[in-house]
Amino acid sequence: MSRPSSLAYLLPELVRTLLARRVTVSFPFEPLEQPVYFRGKVIVQSELCRGCGLCVRDCPAFALELEREGGGRFQLVHYRDRCAYCGQCADSCPQGAIALVSEFVPPTPRRETLTQVIVERDAGG
Amino acid sequence: MNVELVLEALREAFPTEALEPRAVPVDETFVPLPPDCVHPAVRILIERFGLRHLSTITGEDTGSEIVLLYHLWHGRGLTLRAVLPRDGAHIATLTDLIPGAAFYEREVSEMLGVTFDGHPDPGTLLLPDNWDGEPPLRQQRGGVQ
């Protein structure tokens, strides 16, 4: 239903907007809602990890590193500053040990705080 | 576009060349041509078939030679494939027939060091004006990638 031209064409829409809910929020003071499947923080169930390195191989941003220390000991390190939150690691993991949860990773000026050892396995673990 | 008719016309125009078309997924026909036949071939395609849409020009350095692919489209894809030597690679420009080839030729030219003879506005497209290194998509000797 289109209306004919008028000098104040947008007026009805303005009134409708005024009566409707505001769409912006004052973000840092009010929380943002993330949907359930939002790809946020990367978490790992470390007991499932076998250190196969498939996630490291498929990570497009080189954000995962596997450090093998001999004797079955290894460390999986996540560099969140490089991470693109694409979820490929969760897809590539044959164990289903990795997931991205709907939790926003806040930015920080201190880059080193974003590096995180997500799996640490002693020998025979 | 009837690919058979197009091929027939090209065979007619270049009787000495062995045109061996190859079907490539998805719905594309590759026709190898000698470099100096590309320009006359495109002229024939435009005049006889109204095939004026050049999607892009792909250039690739395979290590031993430079391959140019002219991706045309007219309901179906038709790609003309020309092989140039790595040293002193040059080919006639298509800009007089298809002005829209200008950017693609400039890109191939800067990325692979191919000269397009008769290009009205050569020069870098994506690289900085003062770029003086190797063309970036050339394979370096020694396998540095």
């Binding site: 907007t17 005024l18 505001r22 004052s26 | -």
Partner: protein
């Protein structure tokens, strides 16, 4: 010899100039109107808008910022122009009654006000011309073209009430309306023309042509920063306040005669109404092009204003 009466008189004049209805009051109004405008526009567009202290915060931030100009800009002129603009607007404010209060009024102050109100436009144009940037030069020439497009209808529209009431004093025009009827009822076309002219004068959307962001950056003010920019903004926002007060006085009957609480309240309500109309007008349209504006100005507004004047002279006779 300074008598006690003289001191009292002096203090009351100083109070009128500096606090109310002078500079202090205007400063508060400028920030307040700016916030109301932004809040209204935001809500019309479905946003929550800025908090009430945002204009003040912006002003303080700009005052504290580094002040620099490009090489080639005329430094002294660039420092002087925002002050000239602000000074002109503040002088105007002395002659425009606010809720019945006025600092200085005399027969013919309407003409002085109209002349002084064009001074910021000239300063704005010069600022563009002298600040060594292509964007500001283009913006400056647009500001001048726009000036010619809106100024003639604006002047003619405002002289209508003066002719009808037989006085060129704003206070008198306002006072006369409380005895008869509001000028807007007699001259609705004149009021509309003055309103459109005011939008042009304030360079508000849809006539924000000289400072069209997507075309020429910030127009004449592109190269200004820090304190100079703060003064420019202050002068433009004060001009908004003064312009609205002027329209209320001339067309809407001012405060309705004597300075009472009720008069002040109605004056405030009328001013807010005009501000609201300005906000809505800014939200409704796309920005016009300068040639389209001059077309509207000379082909539509100016003839209308002329007819209006003839009409006023006819009913006045």
């Amino acid at each position: 010899m300074i008598s006690e009466e003289n001191v009292l008189e002096l203090t009351s004049i100083l109070f009128a100039i500096l606090i109310f209805p002078g500079f202090g009051f205007l400063f508060v109004c400028a920030l307040g109107f700016q916030w109301i405008d932004r809040w209204v526009v935001a809500h019309l567009q479905g946003r929550i808008g800025p908090p009430w202290f945002q204009p003040l915060a912006d002003f303080i931030k700009l005052m504290a910022k580094e002040d620099m100009l490009p090489i080639g800009a005329h430094e002294r002129a660039c420092a002087l122009l925002p002050m000239v603009s602000l000074a002109a607007v503040l002088t105007v404010a002395l002659y425009v009654p606010v809720g019945g209060h006025v600092v200085g009024a005399f027969e013919g102050d309407l003409i002085v006000v109209l002349v002084l109100l064009s001074l910021p436009a000239v300063a704005y144009f010069l600022a563009g011309w002298l600040s060594a940037s292509v964007f500001s030069v283009v913006g400056g020439s647009r500001a001048l073209l726009q000036y010619f497009a809106y100024e003639v209808p604006f002047l003619m529209a405002l002289s209508g009430p003066a002719i009808l009431s037989g006085s060129w004093s704003i206070s008198r025009i306002a006072a006369l309306q409380s005895q008869t009827v509001w000028m807007v009822l007699v001259q609705p076309v004149g009021f509309l023309l003055a309103f459109v002219g005011l939008i042009g004068k304030l360079k508000r959307s849809p006539f924000d042509i000289p400072k069209a962001k997507s075309e020429i950056g910030a127009g004449p003010l592109t190269e200004f920063s820090g304190r100079k920019l703060a003064l420019w903004h202050l002068s433009l926002h004060t001009k908004t306040v003064v312009g609205i007060f002027l329209l209320v006085d001339v067309f809407l009957g001012g405060s309705g005669g004597s300075p009472t609480i009720w008069g002040a309240l109605t004056f405030g309500a009328k001013s807010l109404l005009i501000l609201l109309a300005l906000s809505v007008a800014g939200v409704l349209y796309a920005r016009l092009r300068i040639d389209q504006l001059t077309h509207v100005g000379w082909r539509v507004l100016a003839p209308l204003a002329l007819l209006q004047i003839l009409f006023v002279i006819w009913i006045g006779a």
